[in-house]
């Protein structure tokens, strides 16, 4: 049974902590970029992020590099918008899945997806060693219905 968390952005200091742990430097640019994702409940495509930051004087390569880094650190999660394009949302590291509104793009994350039994059955039937899954649910949020 899924445990839903209404979407609230991960705490600001999480970047600081994760950088420490993983021996990566906490720079001004990384903080600004992470913050801008935290503030957008719909996430941004890389192109939108580049655009949003060149105004502030952050270089395009830095945006590309930082999005890749934050994704590796588990602080950004990649989702598909209604048009199938990649967008990124700020997220805590861990096993969460996005529920995405096809109309306004707002994202709610949820944790338990019920895939355990399905994976065991798949393993038994196919001989695959299952290592993980990607799951995304789409619909319309209450406001957009």
């Amino acid at each position: 049974m899924p445990q839903t968390r209404s979407y609230e952005p991960p705490p600001r200091e999480m970047l600081r902590d994760v950088c420490r742990e993983s021996g990566v430097r906490l720079t001004n640019q990384r903080e600004q970029i992470w913050d801008s994702f935290r503030r957008k409940r719909r996430g941004m495509s890389i192109t939108e992020a580049v655009e949003a930051h060149e105004k502030r004087g952050i270089g395009l390569s830095t945006v590309y590099r930082t999005v890749a880094l934050l994704e590796e650190l588990g602080l950004l999660r990649r989702i598909h918008d209604h048009a199938g394009e990649h967008r990124y949302i700020a997220s805590r590291p861990g096993h969460f899945h996005p529920l995405v509104c096809r109309s306004c793009g707002v994202v709610v994350e949820f944790e338990s997806c019920g895939m355990g039994p399905v994976e065991r059955m798949l393993a038994a039937e196919t001989g695959f060693a299952i290592e993980g899954h990607d799951l995304e649910v789409h619909g319309r949020c209450p406001k957009c219905q």
Copy 2:
């Protein structure tokens, strides 16, 4: 409980039929491109498909246009390979999900994913009207373990 189908490519004549129904012309190029996807159990990225067909004199724009068309018709399904890149596999139209080998890329499709109850629970907890989901399972095929 998931019903697994070991991956066998959809029948050749399916393109013909789907084209008829949807009032789209069956061209030589479309047949060749669809066939080449049917023959690859791991699918191809668009770039690989372009490369494979320029040898045979099929233009690059045609490959792009055809992949988009076949995806719309439900004859190609987009998946993510181990590196997160988009690849396309030949597939029947309908509700199937890919189980992808992270090592060799081979794909097995399965049908029942157990998402019904999860979606009902999500709807109840979030107020979203659920419209669908994307699911992909990753692991290692028997040969690759």
